[in-house]
Symmetry: C2
Subunit: 320 residues, 2 copies
């Protein structure tokens, strides 16, 4: 299903979120405004703000609070990408040159800080101390997760649970913030907040697993960045873990991690693509999606609930 159809019930409000995001670039510094515009224009599929709006529509839909929160969630996401790219020395993201590649690492660090700050300003516009605290806790989870990922780079062995914990930190925690904050701001009962948290947690894990699969199976053209970048960074993802499990004695991932020889990366990509690993990884992602949708059944049935279910389907089926 197309994203536009899934977003149908919130299309107008999602457009207002995008407008607000663009307004971030109207700041005191003309040259900075231009760069911020570049960052914000590159904004992706809007899944995170859509999650906030949809999750906020089961009880009292309060767009005055949901708007700044949806903006905050997307800005927080953008800020972490700006820092990640600087740390990974990535030169392209979504087909655009990264901030660090144009302006250097220093500006990328400061621009990320600025975007965190703007995200925090929007979060505080919700006037909800609980949501604001959740926002800060999520940033803490993301950054400590990134620290762990960086520290574990090129390390073997790693347990499957470590991987799930890592992707929870870097991706699912933000999905969870998006859904929980929507629920809280709509004055949902605690049970429903918990249901939507559960949905966000599981959906986020599924999303990251698919991302990790695509880093093996997609093309640079489709992704707007090089394939195999996780292996380049020494990040062990599910497809690589499965490869190691199947060929424990000798495999290109092990050789890469032991010797740092990057020639092993295309070999690893090819072995994964030509095996059942891709299907097996999608199966794991689907399981998380099913768990996500399962929890939704306890919410009132309405078009937004269906949209959340369809979004889960889209996430597993997406090719970029």
């Amino acid at each position: 299903m197309e994203l536009d159809r899934i977003y149908a019930s919130i299309q107008g409000d999602l457009e207002k979120v995008r407008e607000k995001l663009k307004s971030i670039s109207r700041v005191d510094f003309p040259w900075l405004a231009e760069q911020l515009g570049l960052v914000v224009r590159g904004t992706g599929k809007g899944i995170r703000p859509a999650l906030t709006l949809l999750s906020g529509s089961f009880y009292r839909y309060d767009f005055d609070c949901l708007l700044p929160m949806a903006v905050a969630v997307e800005l927080l996401h953008t800020a972490t990408l700006v820092h990640d790219d600087a740390i990974d020395k990535a030169s392209v993201r979504r087909g655009q040159p990264t901030i660090n590649s144009i302006w250097g690492d220093e500006i990328a660090v400061l621009m990320g800080d600025y975007l965190f700050a703007k995200a925090g300003e929007f979060a505080s516009d919700t006037q909800s101390p609980r949501v604001i605290k959740l926002f800060s806790q999520t940033l803490a989870t993301i950054s400590s997760g990134e620290i762990n990922q960086f520290r574990n780079a090129f390390h073997l062995p790693q347990a499957r649970e470590d991987y799930i914990r890592r992707i929870y930190g870097k991706t699912a925690s933000l999905f969870s913030l998006a859904t929980q904050s929507g629920a809280i701001l709509s004055q949902a009962p605690e049970e429903s907040v918990a249901i939507l948290k559960d949905y966000g947690d599981n959906l986020g894990i599924a999303f990251q697993i698919v991302d990790d699969i695509l880093d093996f199976t997609s093309t640079a053209e489709a992704m707007g960045k090089p394939v195999g970048s996780d292996l380049t960074q020494g990040t062990l993802t599910l497809p690589a873990m499965m490869l190691i499990e199947r060929y424990p004695e000798d495999n290109p991932v092990k050789r890469l991690f032991e010797t740092g020889d990057m020639k092993n990366i295309p070999l690893a990509l090819e072995m994964v693509r030509n095996s059942s690993i891709v299907d097996d990884c999608y199966r794991v992602a689907s399981e998380y999606c099913e768990r996500a949708c399962q929890s939704l059944k306890r919410l009132p049935e309405n078009p937004r609930r269906q949209a959340l279910i369809d979004l889960a389907g889209y996430i597993v089926a997406r090719s970029l």
Copy 2:
């Protein structure tokens, strides 16, 4: 006057702030806890948290709110230092090796993000949306100020007002957050919030001017970091500006900025030290301190008001 005597009326509560700051290092990641401990142990003279406590003591002194805010202010300061050191490639701060020098720039960026997040969590514990928003706005001001400073590095000419605007962004905005948040959390009338904002603004500018003087006049031993580091970074501060004003045709700062030849730095330090520039800079700092104290006169007279006045005196007289 000694800081201990100035802090006398809040000594017990300031100690609780320090204890809380230490507790930040008790986190999920043992190795991270150790590093965070290093950062937090290095915490300086506690001027910023002291400002929050003192500013919060004119009306309803509510330590339950002031404690997390004082912690937030100091953590925000620490986080910006961690990022600054990574950006400046500084190897020593307060006599300790910097995070970036031990763990690399990547960990320093992520650790700074983590500290921003923890600061945000504490700020949100005040439960005051106004204070939380001010907190985020301050981070935006600091980071956009740093971006400007970085962009203007090794640029000539720069106007005196640009310098004041720059140091407002990087230092005074945080002093201002410290005093304003204390006032707001003590339910001070708006007029008093404005007075304490004014005090914080001016005190912060004075503080940074003195910092900039010390970078010319102090020793690496006393400062716990190399002298002349502003010039090394291409940052034009008041003493350097005065040197250029006095010798517009030819001077070591101009030669440094034009050619990048670092041999000009010791020459610039010596010329400043052996001139009346140091006194003239201290005079400018004193003027800002006087303005800071002047505004306090409209607050109720009590020992905390005197402490704020004494603190201003300490800041201009301090040698590190």
